[in-house]
C-alpha cells in the first residue's frame, strides 16, 4: 500500500478514487474514450496542416 507521509510532496496531490482507476481499464468505457481520442487527434491534424 502506498504510504502518504504528512507534509511530504505526495501529501498535497490529488489521487484518483478506486472507481476512477477501475474506469481506466474498463473495456467498454475505454472504447468510448478511444473514439474520443481519435476524434480529438483528427481535429488537431486538420488544424495543423498548412
Amino acid at each position: 500500500m502506498r504510504k502518504i507521509v504528512q507534509y511530504s510532496q505526495n501529501d498535497y496531490t490529488p489521487v484518483p478514487s478506486k472507481f476512477t482507476v477501475w474506469r481506466r481499464t474498463c473495456v467498454l468505457w475505454q472504447l468510448i474514450q478511444f473514439a474520443i481520442i481519435n476524434v480529438k487527434m483528427t481535429v488537431l491534424i486538420l488544424k495543423s496542416h498548412h
Partner: protein, 491 residues
C-alpha cells in the same frame, strides 16, 4: 534535371524524402544520406527497454524501401556543407563519409540543387561527466532508451536487477534527465512508468524505491512551459495531473535539478536554488542533452563559415527571429518561430525537425545562483518533425518544378498542434497511456488566456491511450515502409 539531397532519415528526413520522391517526376533525383542502415520508430523504444518488444519490432532496413521507390540512398554521415561550391565544384555540395561496411570510411562530395538538413540530434552524453564514456557514447553507469540498441541494453540491465530483487534485494531506481539543458522529458516519463509496471508484473514492486529527476521547474512542463486542460469543472495545470500520477504510482520526484556528475551508483546534482545534492541508485536511465549533428560549413574559398549556418549548439539557422532570444522571456512572441524552415542566407537550404535552431526556449529560462542554466530546451520531435518534413518537401518540390521562387508551405510550431501518447505500462487489457493533444505547441498568450486553445488541448489516461499508442506503432511503421496507402496515414 535537379537534385534534392536530404541529410538524415529520421522522422523529418524520411517524411521529406518519401513525399518529395512521390511528387517529383523521375527526371529529378532524390538522394538521402544517413549514417544509419535502419529506420527506428523511436516512440516504441520505451517498450524495448522493458522487454515488451524486440528490436526487430521497432526497426527496419532502409535500403529496400528506398530502392522500391527510387530514392538514391547513401549510408553515410554528413560532414560538411559547401553552399557556394568551391574550385572543384560549380554547384553547392555536401561531403559525406560512408558508414556502410562495403565503403566504410570513404568520403564523397554530393552536389545538390536543394538541401534538407534533417540530421536530428547528437546525443550529447559527454556533456555530463560520467553520463558518457568520453567518446560520445552512453557511459557504463547508466542506461539509455534513445536508440533501439540502447533500449535493448537497458532491458538486459533491468531484467538482471529484477532477478536480484526476486532474491530479496531492495533497489533504488532513478530515471529522468541527465543534464540541466535536456529536452525529451516525455521519454523519461514513459520509461519510469513502464519500469514501474514491469516491476509490478514481476512481483517485486515493493522492493523498489523509484525516483524521477528532472530539469523541469515543475512536473508536466515537458519543455513547453506546461499546459492547462479542462477537467472536473476546472481549468487545471498539467502539473496537478502529473503529480497525481507520480503519487498514485508511488514515484518520488526531484525537480529543478541539473545532474552534473554521474558515478557508479550515484549522481550529483545542483538544484535551481544553488544547493548541491547526491542521489544513489542501483539502476538509472538518464536522458542526455541534445546537440546538433556537428557538421561544418565552408565558403567557395574553403574558409570555415560554420557560424554563418549553425548556432553554437550545431543547429541550423532558418527563418526564425534570432534576435528575440535576447529580448527576454516576457517579450517572446509566437512570431519569433520559423514558418518555412528556409535558411535566410542560402535559399536552397532548409532544416526540419530537431536540426533547426529554435529562436529561444519555450519554457522560462532559469539559472541557479552559481550561474548554472536549469531549464528544458524546446522539444521538436515526432509529429512536428514529420509536419515540417512534409511542408519543406512540398515547398522544395514547388520550387524545383518552377511553380514558385519562394517556399509555398509552412509548418510553424505556433500554428500546429501536437498529439502525444505517453505509455504508462504495456498490456492489451491492463496497459495505460496518457493521451495528450495541444494546440498550438508554442503558447500564444495574446490569443489564448492560458496560452493554448482549451478546446484543442486535452489529456486523459487509460487503456484506450495504450491502444492508440499501439495502433500508431503499426500505422507509422506501415507508413514509413511506404506500403500501399501510406499517404492516407497523416503525419
Amino acid at each position: 534535371m535537379a537534385r534534392l539531397v536530404i541529410l538524415g532519415a529520421g522522422v523529418a528526413g524520411h517524411t521529406a524524402a518519401s513525399f518529395a520522391r512521390k511528387w517529383l517526376g523521375k527526371e529529378h533525383e532524390v538522394v538521402v544520406a544517413t549514417p544509419n542502415s535502419q529506420w527506428n520508430w523511436i516512440p516504441s523504444n520505451i517498450w524495448v527497454g522493458v522487454g515488451g518488444m524486440s528490436k526487430e519490432d521497432v526497426v527496419f532496413s532502409l535500403a529496400p524501401v528506398y530502392e522500391k521507390v527510387g530514392i538514391d540512398y547513401r549510408q553515410a554521415l554528413a560532414l560538411s556543407i559547401h553552399p557556394e561550391g568551391n574550385k572543384s565544384h560549380q554547384k553547392p555540395f555536401v561531403t559525406v563519409k560512408y558508414t556502410s561496411p562495403s565503403k566504410a570510411g570513404q568520403t564523397e562530395e554530393i552536389e545538390y540543387d536543394y538541401l534538407i538538413n534533417a540530421t536530428g540530434p547528437k546525443l550529447n552524453f559527454d556533456a555530463t561527466p560520467g553520463l558518457g564514456d568520453g567518446s560520445g557514447h552512453v557511459g557504463e553507469h547508466t542506461v539509455s532508451v534513445c536508440t533501439a540498441d540502447h533500449a535493448l541494453h537497458a532491458n538486459l540491465e533491468l531484467r538482471a536487477l529484477i532477478e536480484e530483487m526476486k532474491k530479496g534485494k531492495e533497489a533504488k531506481i532513478l530515471i529522468g534527465t541527465g543534464h540541466g539543458m535536456c529536452t525529451c522529458q516525455g521519454a523519461a516519463f514513459e520509461y519510469i512508468f513502464n519500469v514501474e509496471h514491469a516491476l509490478n508484473e514481476a512481483g517485486v514492486r515493493d522492493k523498489a524505491t523509484i525516483t524521477y529527476i528532472t530539469n523541469e521547474y515543475e512536473l508536466g512542463d515537458f519543455g513547453m512551459g506546461g499546459l492547462h486542460i479542462k477537467a472536473g469543472g476546472y481549468v487545471t495545470s498539467g502539473k496537478v495531473f502529473a503529480e497525481s500520477l507520480y503519487t498514485e504510482r508511488d514515484v518520488k520526484w526531484i525537480t529543478r535539478a541539473h545532474v552534473n556528475k554521474v558515478e557508479k551508483g550515484k549522481v550529483h546534482y545542483e538544484k535551481l536554488d544553488g544547493s548541491k545534492h547526491e542521489e544513489e541508485f542501483d539502476f538509472a536511465m538518464l536522458i542526455p542533452p541534445f546537440a546538433g549533428a556537428g557538421m561544418k560549413a565552408y565558403d567557395k574559398d574553403d574558409n570555415d563559415m560554420t557560424k554563418k549556418l549553425f548556432n553554437p549548439a550545431g543547429f541550423m539557422f532558418v527563418d526564425a527571429d534570432y534576435e528575440s532570444g535576447i529580448r527576454g522571456f516576457e517579450n517572446w512572441k509566437p512570431s519569433d518561430w520559423p514558418k518555412t524552415c528556409q535558411n535566410p542566407t542560402y535559399k536552397n537550404i532548409f532544416a526540419a525537425g530537431i536540426a533547426f535552431a529554435p529562436p529561444h526556449l519555450i519554457s522560462k529560462p532559469m539559472q541557479s545562483p552559481n550561474g548554472t542554466p536549469i531549464n528544458p530546451t524546446p522539444p521538436r520531435t515526432g509529429m512536428p518533425s514529420a509536419m515540417m518534413g512534409k511542408a519543406v518537401a512540398n515547398s522544395i518540390v514547388d520550387m524545383m518544378l518552377g511553380r514558385s521562387d519562394t517556399p509555398t508551405h509552412t509548418a510553424s510550431m505556433t500554428e500546429m498542434g501536437a498529439a502525444c501518447v505517453a505509455s504508462a505500462g504495456k498490456g492489451i487489457f491492463n496497459g495505460t497511456a496518457v493521451a495528450i493533444t495541444m494546440y498550438p505547441i508554442i503558447p500564444d498568450y495574446d490569443k489564448y488566456e492560458y496560452g493554448r486553445d482549451l478546446n484543442g488541448t486535452f489529456g486523459m489516461i487509460g487503456l484506450s491511450g495504450h491502444w492508440v499508442k499501439h495502433l500508431l506503432h503499426h500505422a507509422f511503421i506501415w507508413k514509413a515502409k511506404l506500403k500501399p496507402g501510406w499517404t492516407l496515414i497523416p503525419e
